[in-house]
């Protein structure tokens, strides 16, 4: 937080500047969130249910507009460009992809068609599509054995892998990952976070991860922001936050 401003700008992938999000023109869901994601970083967005984590991610990906909400104040810059009025599909093409809370696979489509659909936005040739699919299958070998299965019939962990794999097919530089641990067994959660860390190391994919599970999130993220009732109440490096020892209190409303 103390680096020179120009230094930050060079390494910055995403900058969210004091945004406010209003649903239906009346309900304030996010009221003053600022955060940055550096290139090649993993940043966690922590907070209890209803703190505004999902809404913040949807504001960044542009999906808020699909829910009759809008960013009514502040600005979101991706790669130095203002995203106001930019269609969600254009944001995906620019390298930003959103993995929704609750996974949201296409249940009637096969696992492979789910993955392929992520490649459509890039207009891939047949060979490139096949090559990129193989790349996803090396990350998630389990999906290859289920490629012909309807995604709705696979397990929760597999659906999360489908959702992440589908997002990776868009070749993102930034993945907005919403609540990846939700409803999954700890061992599966760990498996998924390990893959996230590996993607980050080997492919320089950056992540902004909304999580309720502080322990898992802070094991992998370098930085974190804590949200409470739509505001950032705390932020800092993993070490600084872990040193406080009172993070859980924010979930219990003690601050």
């Amino acid at each position: 937080m103390s680096e020179a401003a120009s230094d930050i700008a060079v390494n910055e992938l995403l900058r969210v500047n004091d945004i406010e999000v209003v649903y239906d023109g009346a309900i304030l869901a996010v009221a003053g969130v600022s955060l940055t994601v550096p290139k090649g970083g993993i940043v966690a967005l922590l907070g209890a249910n209803g703190a505004g984590k999902s809404t913040t991610l949807k504001a960044i990906s542009g999906l808020v507009r699909a829910e009759r909400a809008e960013v009514s104040r502040g600005a979101i810059e991706f790669l130095g460009r203002d995203t106001a009025g930019v269609d969600p599909s254009v944001r995906v093409r620019q390298g930003m992809v959103h993995v929704l809370e609750g996974r949201h696979v296409f249940p009637q489509l096969t696992v492979e068609d789910n993955l392929r659909s992520g490649g459509f936005v890039r207009g891939l040739s047949r060979q490139d599509m096949a090559r990129d699919l193989e790349r996803i299958y090396t990350w998630f070998p389990r999906l290859k054995t289920k490629r012909k299965t309807q995604a709705g019939l696979t397990s929760g962990g597999e659906q999360q892998m489908v959702a992440i794999g589908r997002a990776l097919m868009t070749r993102p530089t930034l993945v907005l990952l919403d609540e990846p641990s939700m409803g999954l067994a700890p061992i599966i959660v760990q498996e998924i976070f390990e893959i996230v860390a590996q993607l980050n190391r080997e492919e320089q994919v950056s992540f902004l991860i909304a999580e309720q599970n502080i322990n898992v999130a802070l094991k992998y993220a370098q930085q974190a922001y804590v949200l409470d009732t739509g505001r950032v109440v705390l932020s800092g490096s993993r070490e600084a936050l872990l040193a406080r020892g009172d993070l859980h209190d924010f979930y219990l409303g003690k601050h």
């Binding site: 990906s61 999906l63 929704l100 459509f120 709705g152």
Partner: protein, 293 residues
């Protein structure tokens, strides 16, 4: 027994005409979750456009092509002027919009092309042919063949192309489709255009059968029981639903009709649909959500 099968076959063939109308609804329902009341008006508009062009001496193939172009332009306009401004509104709002749209299209059709009954000659003689001793209408056979070709083309479109997979993705989960960059507006344009072309095929066959006139748009009301029986989300369901309605109407007219004084055809499909609502509300092939417990 031959008579029974003849009645059944005649009904099944007539049923494919219902299926054709119902498919147009299913397409739009799947992609945008709305029961498009204007499908009948689109069908009338397509048939009227074709007849008007053909009457002015435009050759058959060219008139067909021009009508397809008109339907595609219409789809683009509807997407831009009606669907896009109403995105995310409730289903009933969208339904009301299509209701209004149907009157606009009908008014436009009659204003531009007149309201008198127009004969449409597709060059198919409606003479009976004999198959295995059963008398079958040649026109019905050709209409059924047209339906089969159309359905095959649609099945290939949906299962083998990227546009088709995108469309099924939108039908499954619109938000998720948006999240991976699928352009919803583009999908709507394509679906409405395809529904318009399906409407054209249905309009030509129905128009050739009963003349191109205002009442053609009322075939929507015949599609409703077909959709209830087959399910709103399945093209296969629309086909089977159409066949069931066609066969049931014909059989009921012949075997039950005399007992209660005839005139069964106009309402029998609705009674059948009501029975299905009791037993199987999602329809025969309606997609119930896949959910793990």
């Amino acid at each position: 027994m031959t008579f029974f099968f003849e009645t059944l076959l005649g009904g099944l063939l007539a049923g494919t005409m219902y299926s054709l109308v119902a498919i147009g609804f299913v397409l739009i329902y799947k992609a945008s979750g709305v029961f498009n009341f204007a499908q009948g008006a689109m069908l009338l508009f397509a048939a009227l456009t074709f007849v008007s062009l053909h009457d002015q001496g435009v050759p058959f193939a060219l008139a067909l092509l021009l009508t397809v172009v008109v339907m595609v332009i219409g789809a683009l306009l509807i997407e831009r002027l009606v669907l896009r401004p109403l995105v995310n509104r409730s289903q009933i709002t969208l339904f009301m919009a299509t209701l209004g749209l149907s009157f606009i299209i009908e008014g436009l059709a009659q204003g531009l092309m007149g309201s008198q009954v127009r004969a449409l000659d597709l060059g198919i003689d409606d003479v009976p042919v004999f198959i295995g001793g059963m008398m079958v209408s040649q026109f019905d056979l050709i209409a059924a063949a047209a339906a089969i070709v159309l359905v095959t083309v649609l099945a290939l479109l949906f299962n083998k192309t990227r546009i088709g997979v995108s469309l099924r993705a939108v039908a499954d989960d619109t938000t998720a489709a948006l999240s991976i960059g699928i352009n919803l507006n583009r999908i709507w344009q394509i679906v409405w255009a395809v529904a318009g072309i399906v409407g054209l095929v249905a309009g030509l066959l129905w128009g050739a059968r009963q003349g191109v006139q205002f009442s053609l748009s009322l075939v929507v009301l015949k599609a409703l029981p077909v959709l209830i029986i087959g399910g709103f989300t399945s093209i296969g369901g629309a086909i089977v639903g159409g066949l069931i309605v066609g066969a049931a109407e014909n059989l009921a007219e012949v075997y039950i009709g005399p007992l209660i004084g005839g005139g069964i055809t106009p309402w029998f499909a609705y009674v059948l649909a009501l029975a299905f609502l009791y037993i199987r509300p999602a329809g025969l092939f309606g997609e119930r959500a896949i959910e793990r417990v």
